[in-house]
Every structure is written in C-alpha cells, then in structure tokens.
Assembly symmetry: C2
Homo-oligomer: 171 residues x 2
C-alpha cells in the first residue's frame, strides 16, 4: 500500500486553495488541499498497526500550533509547481522530522519546505504567467492546526484518510 | 458547515467499487467509495467539539464488526442508484441509530439500507441495463470494520475527513 501523511487546513483555506487548483492543479480531483508532512511511501498493509502506534506517539509529543500562510511561491525551475508558502515553525519541522525517523525513515527527495500546492504540471509559460500574477496578491492567513492524517492511495490515484491524529493528545 | 458520517471500507473494496463508479457514479470525484452512516447535515462549525464528543461516545459503545457485501441492488424507481448491498447487522443499525439521536437527531429522508453506491444519476435505460448485468455478478465479500469518519464538504462539493473514530475504543 502507498501511504502519505498530511495536514488538511480549515475548510476556509481549502476553499481558497481549490479556487486556484481547479484551474492549475493536475491533481485537483485526487486529494483535498493539504500540506504534506511525509511524502508517499510504500508499506506493507500488515505493518499499519505499528506505523499508527509510531504516529500516535509523534502526535502526542507535538502541541497544536499556528499555521501561517504568507505568500505565493514556486518551485520553478525544479518543478512547475506553484504553492502557498507556509511559515516554517519549530512544530512543523519537528513533525516532519519525527514522521521521517525510526520505522518511518525514508530517503527524502526534497528538503522540507512547508507548502500547500495550488498548481502543478503547468507548462513553463503558464507557470511563469500564473506565478507572475499571484505573487502580487496578498494571501496572509493564520489558523490553528490541531490534527493531521495518515492517508492511503487507491488504484485510481485518489487518497482516502485512514486515521486522524490529534496533536498533544494521548490517543 | 455541511457534515456527514461514513465508513470507508478496505482499499480492496474501494478499488472494486471505483471500477464501477468511474463509469456510473456522477459523484466519483467527490468522495471515495463509502457506506453512509449519517446523511449530510448542517451544523455550526462552533459546535463541532460537542458533535465530536457525542460521536466519540458512540464509537466507544460499538465493537468492530464484519461488513458483508452480498449482492448488487438498486433504489430504482425511487432514485436511479445502483449499489453494493451490505448485510444489515446489529452493529450497523446501532451505529446508525446512535449517530441520529441526541444532538445529532435529524429527520431521516430514507429508511436506513446499508449500501455502497457504485452508480447514481443514471438515466432510466442505463440504470436498467447496468443493473441487469450486475445483478448476475457474484460480489460476495467480507471484511472487518473498526473505524468510521466524520467528514465535511468543501464549496466544490468534495468531502474532507475531519476525524476518524475507532470502534470499541476509548478516545
């Protein structure tokens, strides 16, 4: 099975993200707007109990925190992706580290840059155009994050939530 | 906010359901395959804490149970919906009742018939054709259900999981 770990922000922020994703994100229908805490990884379904125990311990050790979106940014020219940049906080860094350690240690493809994708797989011109317009927009937003989710991917590429984990809580 | 409560069955069963939904279900991209425990309802976002407390108590009181799919069926002529019929069990009835009582009491549009939709909004001829073929197929399947999810709907009609609840567990 292919698993991943993500934060789903508030409905309000997801609706804003979707207003862009609808036009610019090739994976719009695959998953709701999210901040990836751990990239997709393969794990045996029989090990999901152990994985969940590990994640519960991680969730317990990290308190709810403020998620701050403060600008649009792009991964161009590495990938033609446009995203809402999320302020890096101690909690996000800790969550990312703990969810990529121990039995969940995997080789990281990229450095961790907290973000909510709003466009991907754009061609060069469109990426440049859209980002050129968006970077002038003000999208400052703050909210409290108190949970994250373990997801798994179906054969059609969409993701289903397996379990939510509440931060700072004994599960 | 518009909320709903559903069971997401195993990846295996979701993949089977999607193989039909892709062609026949107008809401294919809105939500993964699921068994609805509580129809969509409106609730103030400020009350979600209370709602979650209520649901946690319900989850604690019901043990994990066997979900058995045993045939294809249809709601025609009430609606042109085709579904996998799920054996009604004491646990499903109890879950449905408790999730529609107390602060979660809402008028029920339909009698509770546990099912996993695989086609909807079909025209009469297609509904009849597809159901005619499917009812000859053998889809017997059993699996254990140990969780369900509270979801909320985004402005684009898709659903995001807010929280999962483990059956028979103190949260």
């Amino acid at each position: 099975m292919r698993y991943g770990i993500a934060i789903f922000p508030s409905k309000k922020l997801q609706d804003v993200a979707n207003s862009y994703r609808k036009r610019y994100d090739s994976r719009y229908s695959m998953i709701p707007p999210h901040l990836t805490l751990k990239e997709a990884f393969e794990a045996d379904e029989g090990n999901v109990g152990e994985i969940v125990s590990h994640i519960r311990n991680v969730a317990k050790e990290v308190s709810p925190f403020t998620l701050e979106v403060y600008k649009f940014s792009s991964f161009y020219p590495v990938t033609n992706t446009i995203y809402m940049k999320v302020r890096d906080t101690a909690e996000l860094t800790t969550l990312h580290e703990k969810l990529n350690s121990g039995m969940l240690q995997h080789e990281l493809k990229y450095q961790f840059i907290p973000h909510i994708t709003i466009g991907q797989d754009l061609d060069n011109d469109e990426c440049s155009d859209v980002y050129g317009r968006l970077k002038l927009e003000d999208i400052r937003h703050e909210e409290t994050v108190d949970r994250f989710s373990l997801l798994y991917q179906l054969e059609n590429g969409t993701w289903t939530a397996y379990e939510t984990f509440l931060l700072g809580r004994d599960h």
